[in-house]
Structure formats: C-alpha cells, structure tokens
C-alpha cells in the first residue's frame, strides 16, 4: 500500500502556511511548501501553485488537513462515571447534548483521548456546528483547498507543543497559544492533558493596545479560573514570528511571570501548527479528531477511495478463489494419482495372480491366494530335484559287502528307511545306522540275540530329518 502524502494547511484571513509530510523508510519527514502573509493571499493567486502540487498527488495517497474554526469549536474534557468506554461513547454524547446551546444533531462531534478514571471513562470532546464547518469548507474552497480532514485546532496546537517541549510537568498549567493577526487560539491544560480552549477573536496587534490586552487577559483568567497552579508555562507559536515574540513578551510582563512561570516560543512558530496537522494525518492520530465525515470528502478522493476499495475487495475475492482453485487442483491431482495407482494395482494383481479379473479392494488377497495355489501345485518339483534313492541303495550295498552284512529287506523312500538283515556281530549291526545318519536320517537299530549260525539279526528304521 502506498504511504500517505499529507499537506497541513494553517490558513486564515491573515495568511497561510502549507507543510508537506510523508513517511519515508519508516520515518516521517516534513517540509514547508509555501507560506504567504495576508497581503499576498488576496485573490488566492499564490496558492494556485500549492494547489497544483497537491492535485499532482494521487487522490488515494493525498491527505489535506486544515484546522476547523477554533472560535466556533467547543473543547471539553468529560467523564462518564461508572461505565466502560463502549457504553460511555453513547452516554458522553447525551451528556454533551444537554450542555450545548444548540442541537447535537446539527453538530459534528469527536471524542478522543479515551482513558479510564477510577470506575468511569474520560474523553476529550470537541463539538462544532455543521454550518460553521460548511463555512470553513467554503473559505478553503475559495482558496483552492479541498481538505480531506478538518482537525480541532486546539488539539493540534497542544499536540504541537507536546512534540516540541514534551508533556507538561506535574502540577504545571500549560497555555499553548497559536497566535495570528486574525485570532489567538489558546489550548489550556495540565499534566493530565488538554482540558479546554479559548479563542481571542480580535487579538492585540501591538503592545500598547490596552483594551485588546485586557480582553485577552480576561479570557485567559476565565479559562484558568479555579485552578490551583504551581507553575505556568506559556508556549507561543503562530505568525508572523516577530509579532509572536512581541506578544509572548508582553503577556509575560502583564501576568508578572517570574520564577513561577516560563515562556517558550516554538523553534518554527510560523509552521508549527501546519506541520503538526500534516504529521497527525501521516501518523494516524487525526482519525479520532477529524470533524469531516466521509460524505464531505472531495469528489476525486471519494472516487479514488471507491476504486481502491473495489479493487482491493475484488483482488481479495480473486485471491481467495484462486487459493480455492489451487487447492482443488491439488486434490484433483491426488485423486488422479489414486485412480492411476488403483488401475495399476488391478493390472498387476491380474498379471501376478494370472487372474482374468479381480475384485476391487481384494486385489492383493486374490493374487496371493492364486500364487499360493500355483506354488502348492508346483511343490512336488522340489522332490524331483532331490537325489534319487538309487544313491542311498548303492551306498548301502557298498557298505554291506566288505562288512559281511547280509541285507534281507531294504525299503527306501523320500521320508523313511527300513533295513532288515544280519551282521557278524553287534558292532557290525550298527554300521548301517551310522551310514544312514550320514545321509540325513534319524535312525535306530534293534539288534536281536545271536542266531545259531553266530550272526546277529538287526532291524534299522529311520526317518528323514
């Protein structure tokens, strides 16, 4: 996904400043792309170049942020007691409704900085009437700016101060003033964060403009009334820079800030707010405080986002279908391979078993049984290749002659042997048994008592081992 290229526009009747911000290699970088004071903005001709630069950025990547009119924005920290954020979201809007002098349905409301306080939930609420927003959009359109977001100026100014000077110290009251010749916007808060904002519509232009200073003083005192302040910290930003320095100095003198306070001026007071607006869009912080709805986006941005959404959804659906297709193909391949093996098994079983046909699932069993039948039929072949009994007979006859053994009956078979005869003595009667043992028979001799002619009759019986 392409990163957002954000333009922060700080513009009012006294002039404008534009800052461009972008995320590059994980870092957010910003640059000032234009700044014009009140006299030069007449007719908006000088903004045309910046507008053209913005329009060159793809609408999908482009974010243009301006500040909503602070004088018509109410910023207030609110607490919904004894409930979590989910329920507090509804309750806080209702609580806000009864505190407003106009109908909440006619307003744009944003709730941000959610946090749990005890068993309740606290949020920073910002409210502005829609007609004020429309006026602001018309002013910006007259300058050639079509914003994609309108931020709450006090929140942006407070954020800018925190970025540059860190969070307020414990017990410190911080006043962040964004001052121009047109108006001063003062964000008031402490170590718990931004608490509210005041706007001075006709600010003192010079140090000796006593009435204006008194009005401003009064507004600041009203904003900080009832606070137990250990230390004040004033942070100034705005344009022109030399006036900001003058205003900060005069305010410090008028309030008699000594050791109990300090006055700080932003390093780049003229671009601080515009830069913060641009950075908040890139960093995603703007999402919670954007006062514009999706319906109020510029037409080209809406169309581009529609196209991206359709393409993304279509791409995701196509990828899903493709994933399913790949899986289906894989399973189809497995099934095909299984069919091939089954066919091969059947063919091989018929071939091995010499069978005409085999039953599916019983191929191996049928082939095995067929082969066992064939082997059983061929088993007599083993006997054919055994040595014939002729050899045994010849051996017995060769033994009998020299030993003077008379063989009367000779029975030989593949499994058994039986001899009857007579020998000159008992020892000689045992010699056929020994011979048969050498041929692999389990043999046993039964010799009888010597006959009248002195010969010993014997019977030898044996079986093949």
């Amino acid at each position: 996904m392409c990163s957002t290229i954000s333009f922060g526009i700080d513009a009012d009747a006294s002039g404008w400043v534009a800052v461009r911000a972008e995320r590059r290699w994980g870092r957010v970088v910003s640059e000032t792309v234009g700044a014009v004071d009140a006299d030069a903005t007449a007719g908006g001709a000088d903004f045309a170049g910046i507008g053209a630069a913005m329009s060159r950025v793809s609408p999908v990547r482009r974010a243009v942020t301006a500040a909503a009119p602070a004088a018509e924005t109410i910023v207030r920290r609110m607490v919904a007691p004894k409930m979590g954020p989910a329920r507090a979201r509804k309750v806080l809007v209702s609580l806000l409704d009864v505190q407003l002098p106009f109908r909440i349905e006619d307003c744009a409301v944003v709730l941000s900085e959610w946090r749990r306080v005890g068993d309740g939930t606290e949020a920073l609420a910002a409210v502005i009437r829609r007609e004020a927003l429309d006026r602001r959009l018309a002013e910006l359109a007259a300058m050639g700016v079509a914003p994609t977001a309108l931020d709450v100026e006090a929140i942006a100014a407070w954020d800018s101060a925190c970025r540059e000077f860190g969070e307020p110290a414990p017990g410190e009251m911080r006043m962040v003033v964004h001052a121009t010749l047109e108006r001063w916007v003062c964000a008031v808060g402490g170590d718990t964060g931004l608490e509210g904002a005041v706007t001075v519509r006709e600010p003192p232009a010079e140090a000796h403009d006593a009435d204006a200073w008194n009005r401003a003083d009064l507004m600041f005192r009203t904003a900080t009334a009832g606070r137990c302040v250990e230390r004040e910290c004033w942070i100034w930003m705005g344009r022109p820079a030399e006036r900001v320095a003058l205003w900060s100095q005069t305010m410090a003198e008028r309030r008699g800030l000594g050791l109990a306070g300090r006055v700080l001026i932003s390093r780049e007071p003229e671009t601080a707010l515009a830069r913060t607006l641009a950075l908040r869009a890139v960093e995603g912080k703007l999402r919670q405080t954007n006062l514009l709805t999706q319906d109020e986006l510029p037409a080209d941005v809406r169309r581009a986002r529609d196209r991206v959404a359709v393409l993304a959804a279509g791409g995701l659906i196509a990828a899903s279908v493709m994933l399913l297709g790949v899986e289906a193909r894989r399973i189809s391949t497995l099934a095909q391979r299984e069919r091939d093996w089954a066919a091969q098994l059947e063919r091989r079983a018929r071939e091995v078993g010499g069978l005409g046909r085999v039953q599916r699932g019983l191929e191996v069993r049928m082939a095995r049984e067929s082969v066992e039948r064939q082997l059983a039929a061929l088993a007599p072949l083993d006997r054919l290749f055994q040595p014939p009994q002729t050899a045994s007979l010849a051996g017995l006859l060769r033994l009998a002659g020299p030993a003077q053994i008379h063989l009367e009956v000779v029975e030989l078979s593949d499994r058994a042997v039986r001899l009857e005869g007579s020998a000159p003595d008992r020892d000689a009667a045992r010699r056929p048994e020994e011979f048969l043992r050498m041929l692999g028979y389990e043999a046993k001799t039964e010799a009888g008592p010597a006959r009248p002619d002195g010969r010993t009759p014997f019977v030898v019986e044996g079986t093949r081992r």
Partner: protein, 174 residues
C-alpha cells in the same frame, strides 16, 4: 458509492469470501487431503506387496527352466518298461501295478509309476535303476523295497516307485 458500502459492505464481502476460502482450504487440508494421502499410501503398499508376491511366485522358475532344458533334446521320454527291456534284455518285464499323474501347472505334470518284480537278479535291478537315472527326462526312484530271495543276495523281489516330469501334451506314457 456510499461510504458505508465502501467501508462496511465491500470489506465484509471480501473478508467473508476470504475467510470462507481459508476455512475451506483448512478443512480440505485437514480432512480430505490426509484421507486421500492415506488411501494413496495404502495403494502403494499394496503394489509393494504384489511385488513381493510376484517375487515368491518365481520360486520354481529355475526348476521349470531346468526341466525345459532337460526335455529339450528328447521331448518324449522312454517308458520304464522300455528302459527295463533295454537294461535287462531277456528278463520278464516288471508288473505295472499303478500309474498316477500329478498336474504341476498348465504345461507340466509328474507321472508316478509303481513297478513290481517277483524274482529278478540284483544286477538287473541295478542296471535298470542306472537306465532310469540317465534317461531324458529322468525317471527318479522315489521309493523302493528289495527283499533278498537267497542267502547270497543275488536275486530279489523288488517293488519300485518311479516318477518323471512330462509336458502335459507330450507326456511319455508307460
């Protein structure tokens, strides 16, 4: 396009399809693919088993080859009576008491013959047995019983069982 269509309907539809697709793939991978694989493995195991069976079926191949070569020269062997007449000319022929045939396979069979000789010189028996062993195909003596008829064991009563392989269609008849 309405923002809710862009931000809710499209992502929900695409996400739904994607989730359904991933779940389907997971189901296929976990349920169908292992079953297919195991069936394939079983088939391959059966094929290997068939190879082993085929190997064991070849156990008698060398025997049959030897029979083929033994019978190649004289496909029709001589009968035992002919062999006896040749080995012991002038003597009365043995009595053929039984003939049996054992089929080995489609091509081969074994012929078994029982012969009885009431009174025969042992030399003639010996010459007959020698002739049986050297004939092609040979007649093998699987059992014999000799009973001497005189004190010098020159004559005997003999009962023999001979067997010989033969081609089924070309088998030698006794």
């Amino acid at each position: 396009m309405k923002p809710w269509v862009r931000e809710v309907v499209l992502p929900a539809a695409a996400g739904g399809v994607a989730i359904a697709s991933v779940l389907s793939v997971l189901w296929l991978e976990l349920a169908v693919v292992p079953e297919r694989r195991s069936r394939g493995e079983a088939l391959r195991a059966d094929l290997r088993e068939l190879d082993r069976i085929a190997e064991s079926a070849r156990r008698y191949t060398p025997h049959l080859r030897a029979l083929d070569s033994a019978c190649a020269a004289s496909p029709t062997g001589r009968s035992p009576l002919d062999l006896f007449a040749g080995a012991a000319p002038g003597l009365p022929p043995p009595v053929l008491s039984a003939t049996r045939e054992v089929a080995l396979d489609a091509h081969w069979r074994i012929t078994q013959v029982d012969l009885a000789m009431a009174d025969v010189p042992l030399d003639a028996v010996s010459a007959f047995l020698q002739a049986c062993a050297t004939s092609r195909p040979p007649w093998r003596v699987s059992a014999l019983r000799l009973q001497a008829l005189d004190a010098g064991s020159t004559r005997a009563r003999a009962v023999l069982t001979l067997e010989s392989p033969a081609r089924r269609e070309e088998a030698a008849r006794p």
